[in-house]
């Protein structure tokens, strides 16, 4: 039994050494958050929430530490839709001491569209801690930092954000075309 434990330790040291080798920038983490389609369930804001196919965790309110977040990204979460982004997560017991043969179809976390390199996992975990965890309700400024100003995806936050965000919205709003809806009156109103 000592051998798997050593392998686990080895993997742990390897991951740690990679992450210690060069600090990822927030831009790298943001890039991974988008490209790995974290947005698909957790949304740009990390709020996740009730979804058509089940609820994703609210990362803004998460109590997990950096290490725990990184572990969750590598291993996924059994019996939920959270994928394991380490391709070998269930090959040797490194995740929750479990191997693929011990897992049922119902408990095995799904495979992601694309696996991530250890450095990417490190970067995106740090991004979640620095930009999402504990940040309260999402703001217009945060939304624009995520998407840029080439989209109307943030318009919905313009009126609800703090005043500085609203001002930014007013100026950014003119940067893209706003077609107005001129709808006809309700056809079935009145007699």
């Amino acid at each position: 039994m000592a051998f798997p434990a050593m392998m686990l330790l080895g993997a742990f040291l390897l991951l740690n050494s990679v992450s210690a080798w060069a600090e990822p920038s927030a831009d790298e983490g943001l890039h991974v958050f988008k490209s790995a389609n974290c947005v698909g369930c957790h949304k740009w804001s990390g709020e996740g929430g009730g979804g058509y196919g089940g609820a994703a965790a609210n990362l803004r309110r998460t109590a997990l530490s950096l290490d725990q977040i990184e572990h969750t990204i590598r291993c996924g979460r059994p019996a939920t839709g959270m994928p394991h982004f380490d391709p070998d997560a269930y090959s040797d017991g490194r995740c929750y001491g479990l191997k693929k043969a011990q897992m049922s179809a119902a408990t095995m976390p799904p495979e992601p569209d694309h696996y991530l390199r250890p450095a990417d996992i490190d970067a995106v975990a740090k991004y979640v801690v620095s930009h999402i965890k504990g940040k309260g309700p999402p703001t217009f400024a945060q939304c624009q930092a995520f998407f840029g100003d080439g989209t109307r995806a943030c318009d919905v936050y313009e009126k609800t954000s703090d005043s500085s965000g609203a001002q930014a919205g007013a100026s950014a709003g003119s940067a893209h075309q706003h077609l107005k809806i001129e709808s006809a009156p309700d056809a079935n109103a009145g007699k």
């Binding site: 389609n37 947005v39 698909g40 369930c41 949304k43 740009w44 929430g49 009730g50 979804g51 058509y52 196919g53 089940g54 609820a55 179809a105 119902a106 495979e111 569209d113 998407f147 989209t151 109307r152 995806a153 318009d155 919905v156 893209h176 077609l179 107005k180 809806i181 001129e182 709808s183 006809a184 009156p185 309700d186 056809a187 079935n188 109103a189």
Partner: protein, 586 residues
Amino acid sequence: MSRKMYAAAAIVALLVGSHGGWAADDVTANQLLKADSDPGNWLTHHKDYSAHRFSSLSQITKDNVKNLHVAWTLQLGGVEGGGIWSHGGLEGTPIVENGYMYVTDGWGSVYKIDTHHGEGKLLWKMDPKTDHDWAGAVACCGVDNRGVALIGDLVLSHSLDGRLIATNKDTGQIAWQRQVADPDKGEVVTAAPLVVKNMVITGVSGAEYGIRGWIAATDLTTHKEVWRTYTIPAKGEPGANTWKDNHDAMANGGGSTWVTGSYDPSSNTLFWGVGNPGPDWDSQYRPGDNLYTDSTLALDVDTGKIKWHYQHTPNDDFDYDSVAENVLVDAPVHGQPMHLDLEADRNGFAYAVNRDNGQFVWGLPFVKKVTWTKGLDPETGRPAEYDPKLDVQKYNAAVTPSREHPVTMICPGNMGGKNWPPTAYNPQDKIWYIPVIESCNRITVKPEDPSKPIKKREFFTGGGPTQPERITGSVTAIDVTTGKEVGKHETPYPMLGGLLATPDMVFYGQPDGKVAALDAKSLKELWSFNTGAGVNAPPMTFTSDGKQYIAILVGQGGAWDKWFIDGTPELKRIQPGSMLYVFSLN
């Protein structure tokens, strides 16, 4: 406007063609009325206003279909992701006029293809620059666009971010556009437009995001909206008393209209299906029958006034929407001539109603397994357990999801039954073919809190589905004159693309890439070809230089691979794609 600008605008108007002066190859309203007797062309979304998707072309027959092979293919775009979606897909029906084909990709780019001389040549591509993140974040069920409409010298299309766009047929330049739907409210548009008279009709998606659904008509001359019919009544309007809560659930009552409707010129009536109520699975949030959700609407096409409605699943607990196309058929039922409106519902039942007054004629289950009700009332077509005295319907209480019974298996699953993929009707044999999802799935109710305001651009579903059981499919045939099932061809995967009927065959595609032809009578397979990618769109047929072709868009999109893939685990290996396949004999 200065005089110089005015002159420039007048020149532009002349160049793009005014509505009064169409050229010889322009599509006219009269041509659209007669689209059913124009076999070489496919001029409107469902082939004709009656939504038959039947072609009388007969070069390709059950005797020679074994020789059908790929004539040419064309790679399209639009596979990129946006919002919550990792990729786009293809759900459109190609439109063909005089050998020129118009198709769309999921993000709403329009492609004009010259099909003459036995090959496909791209003439132009109109990219509407759809706002991917704005729209893709509130598209419940994929990056989808189901195609274009033709009128005059214009190609009309929608974009996911809520625009109606008119493109010059010859140049590929946008002639005009208007915003019809508002993604800030969770509204997006996936349906193909429908041109009737001098109007173009738009349906909306978004019942999973707390919209109040509508159908809107835009005037082709003024480009202004002529009427807008809300599918959820406002306070004081007929039907408002079917929302019995005290927290204004109507304001976010759902009722989207994301499948193109049909039109009966003899009665000047537009027929359009209405989607599920919101929140989907928390029916106790919205006591009452929740009109006009899960209904067929008959509208005066000039005013948008509702003539009649027929509701299939009052106070829906299941997400059994009724957006499906309404198929208009004149046929005898038990010997008596009838004007019928056929609809194959998500709830697993096929319905025929009298389209002059909305009275029920016949109904039957078209899926192998129904558990939510024991059947339809033979007089009214209502689910047998429906109780008008109850505010919250329980149907078969053992399986109906509720706050007290929050985790249940339902059959059919919430995708249906039958989803948006269109049926086809053979008017010679009076047989109606339904593309079926044979399924059950598990619903978990997560009640919505009426004391909290609804968050814009967030899911408002009151729960969600999971897929613990395998899901398959079938092509199921119904004799319209009797309302009886006359055949079922089972398929290993659900029908996610829809059907085409020819005099002696039915064509379909499967999400594992297979395109196939069945004998119209025996439903035995006569021919198949695997495209190597997921088929998520209906086949169609046309002639070019006098030769018959079958065309189909191939590229997995829609909701399946995000929300339902566990019911078809083998399909996880299907890669996104975007390709037009065209088949011919020799």
